[in-house]
Symmetry: C2
Subunit: 346 residues, 2 copies
């Protein structure tokens, strides 16, 4: 089987899970006023592309451990709604203009209505979890709410770190700082909690949910490093976000940290000066020069290597957890997803 067949398999299952999740999400959005200023925007936004990696991990884990898609659906919808809320707030916070190939909600509605729409998406996520309580035992439903609120708080802590470092122009960060940031801002809600919640709703009591944390950490780190890399080297149309936006926004990416630690002192000086200037006066020319310097200093290939390293660790964890089980479509999906997230081009 060649690489494109692996990719097609992953994308086929992503699409199946995404449609099931979206159908559930659409039933949760009220068909009432205020449409123009709230519910129509929500309805449009959740239907924009997006690969649906988070609900897919939740559903596949549930089914792989003996559950069904139906058992995972309210939780998967809650995780995807939370993700949509996080993107909406993130785009306001970063002043981003392009998301999933279209104008961000802040570019479309203005910051105030976009923020408020993000608040509504978070409430819908909670309502999706509460719908769980109707079909599942109430003790499990309470546990899921605890998991979900812990997940949300980790994400907000990660966001606080990232925004704080940008605001105060904190430089001299090391790889451990990056990993701590990514654990919180990305891994928790993208992989760790989707795995944990998928296991909990499967009803399989032989699995210790904490044993899934490292798998989630390594997939999540590979995912984020690839995301950082795509934001510089990706194709705008496929990636759906502005290329070089991370540099313009001052994001502390692995490539930037590598660059500052490995470039000649002269380069370090003008790069630091660039990040001290207010965002509005950063020029496309200097941003391009930072990208060229990253290339020269090996920061881009370093990130590619790091993504491969964390994918390998994720595969190792996968074998530890799922290696003894007979392979089925869902375990295969989780295994192939590890390579997919580290090599995707969108």
């Amino acid at each position: 089987m060649d690489a494109s067949e692996h990719r097609d398999f992953v994308e086929q299952l992503l699409s199946r899970y995404r449609h099931a999740t979206l159908d559930r999400i659409l039933t949760l959005i009220p068909d009432k006023e205020p449409r123009r200023y709230l519910y129509s925007s929500i309805r449009d936004y959740v239907q924009r592309g997006g690969k649906g990696i988070r609900p897919a991990i939740c559903i596949a884990t549930c089914v792989a451990l003996g559950g069904s898609i139906a058992k995972a659906l309210n939780s998967a919808a809650a995780i995807e709604l939370f993700h949509n809320a996080a993107l909406t707030h993130d785009d306001v916070e970063d002043g981003s203009t392009l998301r999933r190939g279209e104008a961000t909600l802040n570019a479309e509605l203005g910051n105030a209505l976009a923020m408020n729409t993000g608040d509504a998406l978070n409430i819908l996520a909670i309502q999706s979890l509460l719908a769980n309580a109707q079909d599942q035992d109430i003790k499990l439903s309470k546990r899921l709410l605890h998991e979900f609120s812990a997940m949300a708080m980790e994400t907000v802590e990660g966001q606080a770190l990232e925004l704080g470092w940008i605001r105060d122009n904190v430089l001299g960060l090391e790889q451990d700082d990056y990993l701590r940031l990514v654990l919180k801002k990305t891994c928790c809600y993208t992989c760790i909690y989707p795995l944990r919640i998928g296991a909990l709703v499967s009803g399989n009591e032989s699995i210790d949910v904490d044993s899934l944390n490292e798998l989630g950490l390594y997939i999540g780190v590979a995912f984020q490093i690839r995301d950082d890399w795509l934001s510089l080297c990706g194709d705008r149309a496929r990636f759906g976000k502005e290329i070089f936006a991370d540099i313009w926004e001052g994001k502390r990416t692995l490539m930037l940290m590598h660059l500052l630690a490995h470039c000649p002192p002269d380069d370090r000086q003008w790069i630091e000066a660039f990040f001290r200037t207010p965002r509005s006066s950063r020029s496309a020319e200097v941003i391009r020069r930072i990208f060229d310097t990253m290339q020269r200093c090996g920061s881009l290939s370093y990130a590619e290597e790091a993504a491969r390293h964390f994918s390998a660790r994720a595969h190792h964890e996968y074998e530890r957890i799922f290696g003894q089980m007979p392979e089925n479509e869902e375990t295969r999906f989780i295994r192939e997803l590890i390579t997919y997230v580290g090599e995707r081009d969108s």
Copy 2:
């Protein structure tokens, strides 16, 4: 008993309930990193003044119906945390600079970190409700989560209307539009749901929680009209917010709606032109002129009269619900609070 004795009584109970609620809130805020960019700001913010009207209504209703302060505390803390989140997001959305007599979080931390702090406050509110499930029966705890998420969604719908009307400069609104807005953006989380949730946690099964809705509506409307009025006629130091900010922000207050409906056509023309200009080019001089025109057209005294009218309707509802019960400190508090919110100067 003169007016100041009534006010002292209300303020004494507000203070008692506020301290109990704050103590509970402080136990919910983690003592860990990230402090500087998240938890320290939260800790400081929740300890700023504020009268604590919402948790007080929740606690007093619970006790008045035979419950205890302890039974209401996690819910009261959740409502107050939600209120803090709403203020934080509202101040970013409105670009406000002064709150509770100090710099708003957006003025202090920047918009991005302030937004994120608001997100964290919302998660803490959910965590406070989940703590409930430990001491209360799990069916009640689920019901409280449903009530809370309905309350949050009503508030977000109200906020969507208000922000949408401002963004699109919607004029020609009538008193019914104002009441619909205030029902959603203010009454639900300030009065209606604190009453409902207080009744639910009291354990008193003879009360129909829906019967409390109108009482909450009328107190909430009186509260909001007084708030609108204070934002023009209040004392900046006592009120803790910028005076005239509502006009500058384009808020659809009862006074503005009255003014546009009752001023001479010539005045209407320049006032509408003012709201068509971008916010940054609105001048203090024209804002003052709008205020003077409101005075001349009777819009300010109309609002005072309207607040009295809704207070009277609230008293009528109070009698219907609590009139047959023997009066105690808590029923007296609810009764006197009706007059208090419509006449307060801070």
